[in-house]
């Protein structure tokens, strides 16, 4: 029995048409739907859901403005529903920018591209490459939309790379008043500072200009390292590789390092991955949860058999993986100097109390930025992510671990589960009040506010 390296990881599991000119058909349907007639919206994990009055996909900025003026409130923009927090649910209108996508314009000199806000990250690789560009860094998956990603400061790993929001050099949004506004560092600079990470609370983002770079090839390497050794070496690995992250597999005392480095080696794509690895870990947890040392033995000996693995491909094909096994997730971004200590503490807690858990934990490095609501603002950071199988109750685990992440100065990922409220954010974010001022000016009547956002902003 050999477990591939990728199996042990937590993987589970078209450029959309540009504006087609077809009207947002569902919108024309009045009168209001009864509860029974509505179709449930839910996020990727199934943990958040709602019965919206309308689900609409406008094809132009003018249609976006018309929906804002006339559709049932509150109006919540949605990407592909990959956030775990209740950012999207509403009884009113869910608006998707699925039909406002694709690469709209590129600038060869500045290496910037303007793209439709509803573009899925996975649909940007090929058309950008055709124009001689590539995203500078990418997260674990490519199913999210660009607008959804920047709205929560979605990040990849690499001590020299910020979140996707930090590569935004300008954006267009349609405001609650129906105005189409462009902002960048010179034009409406306060709005730009607020909008780059704004949880869909300032308006509907329709276009995003991104700083890109030239297409490049990446060599991806994965290898197994005992936990204690990883604690000693992680910072060195982070300094020596373009991108470095590691997973800790609970109850195994083993970590898996992953590095990405730019290369001109010939293409050597990875073989097809299969989805069973994480479910194997689940089965081991189910069978051997009562005997942690036996479980550790099985997982560790399986991991020790794994040879180091490398492959080479175009960057946008290397970064994303599939996640077909659903989960709920909590992720905090910690000051870099505290993060390894926090991870050790979490391990002591979970394994010491034999908390039933099989999903690997992910540890990443992210560069600081200056965006008002970016969790990476003003500090070099490391992210710690803990996952729970979607059918299991995540609350006991997350509430046991969250105090450790908070104690070490963590700021939660806006799209991942947490229990913080406005007063906590006011302490954690130096520009919290600046953001609230811009939000109040942009949306005084709360057109874009749902219950979750009211709580986050202290308006409940």
């Amino acid at each position: 029995m050999s477990l591939s390296r990728r199996e042990m990881m937590m993987q589970g599991a078209a450029v959309a048409a540009l504006a087609t000119g077809k009207p947002f058909s569902a919108f024309a349907e009045t009168p209001a739907k009864t509860q029974e007639q509505r179709i449930k919206w839910q996020n990727w994990s199934g943990g958040q859901s709602c019965l919206p009055e309308a689900r609409l996909a406008p094809a132009t900025a003018a249609e976006v403005a018309e929906i804002i003026a006339t559709s049932t409130k509150p109006i919540r923009p949605v990407g592909t529903g990959h956030s775990f927090t209740a950012l999207v649910p509403t009884d009113g209108t869910i608006m998707s920018l699925d039909r406002l996508s694709g690469v709209l314009e590129t600038n060869d000199e500045t290496m910037e591209a303007t793209v439709g806000a509803g573009s899925k990250l996975g649909d940007l690789g090929a058309p950008l490459e055709e124009k001689g560009q590539a995203l500078i860094n990418m997260p674990d998956i490519n199913r999210q939309t660009l607008a959804g990603s920047i709205s929560t400061s979605t990040h990849g790993t690499g001590e020299n790379f910020g979140s996707l929001s930090s590569y935004v050099t300008g954006l267009e949004l349609v405001s609650a008043a129906g105005e189409t506004i462009w902002c960048d560092k010179d034009q409406q600079p306060d709005l730009f500072q607020a909008a780059r990470v704004s949880l869909g609370s300032l308006g509907i983002i329709t276009k995003i200009r991104l700083q890109n770079r030239t297409p490049h090839r990446i060599n991806k390497r994965t290898w197994v390292v005992p936990f204690d050794e990883m604690m000693e070496q992680a910072d060195t690995f982070a300094a020596e590789n373009r991108n470095f992250e590691f997973y800790y597999i609970p109850f195994s005392s083993m970590c898996m390092g992953i590095s990405h480095n730019e290369t001109d080696e010939p293409l050597a794509p990875s073989s097809a991955e299969d989805d069973d690895g994480v479910m194997t870990l689940k089965a081991l947890a189910d069978y051997l949860g009562w005997a942690p040392s036996l479980r550790e033995y099985f997982i560790r000996s399986a991991l020790e058999d794994l040879p180091e693995e490398t492959f080479v491909d175009t960057s946008w094909k290397v970064y994303p993986s599939d996640r077909n096994v659903r989960f709920n997730e909590m992720e905090y971004h910690l000051p870099r100097e505290n993060a390894l200590a926090a991870l050790k503490e979490i391990r002591t807690l979970v394994e010491g109390e034999n908390i039933d858990l099989f999903f690997p934990w992910e540890f990443r490095y992210v560069k600081s930025d200056d965006i008002w609501l970016s969790p990476f603002q003003g500090r070099e950071s490391c992210s710690i992510a803990i996952h729970r199988y979607y059918e299991e109750d995540y609350k006991p685990l997350f509430s046991a671990v969250e105090p450790i992440l908070q104690k070490h100065g963590g700021r939660p990922h806006w799209g991942k589960l947490h229990t913080l409220k406005a007063p906590d954010f006011a302490t954690l974010y130096p520009n919290w009040n600046d953001f609230l001022t811009v939000r109040q000016a942009m949306d005084p009547d709360g057109v874009f506010l749902n219950d979750h956002l009211r709580e986050v902003f202290g308006l409940a």
Partner: protein, 130 residues
């Protein structure tokens, strides 16, 4: 000692992973290639549905590497239809299933659209279905 433990480990993991082979009649390479070629080009005749299909379904259901049943591959759809029926497949679309997100990646589709899209993908040009 080690081989015995490895054997036990293999058995445990194999059981855990539910390794099961499905017994399907073999399909020739030509048949497979024709199904893939058809999946890559076919779209519903209704223009509004076609736009939704191209936007939401085609990327996965016309990609042989993806693992989703190919559009028009009656052989792949038949066992699914028999086991779950249109209602079951509709529920999988609404709730998400494996790689497919809730609402099948079509944020503005209504129930009729989903049913029509499933029916389109589960049939082929020869009028075969289920």
């Amino acid at each position: 000692m080690k081989p015995a433990i490895l054997g036990a480990k293999a058995l445990l993991l194999a059981t855990a992973m539910g390794l099961a082979a499905c017994g399907e009649a073999p399909q020739s390479a030509e048949e497979r290639a024709a199904i893939i070629a058809a999946a890559e080009t076919r779209v519903p005749s209704d223009a509004v549905l076609a736009e939704k299909y191209e936007r939401a379904c085609q990327a996965c259901h016309a990609d042989p590497e993806n693992g989703a049943p190919l559009s028009g591959d009656v052989r792949a759809w038949t066992p699914r239809m028999e086991a779950r029926g249109t209602e079951g497949l509709l529920q999988s679309t609404l709730n998400g299933f494996e790689g497919m997100p809730p609402l099948g990646a079509c944020p503005d589709c209504g129930i009729d659209d989903f049913e029509n899209l499933i029916a389109f993908m589960a049939t082929n040009e020869n009028g075969e279905e289920k």
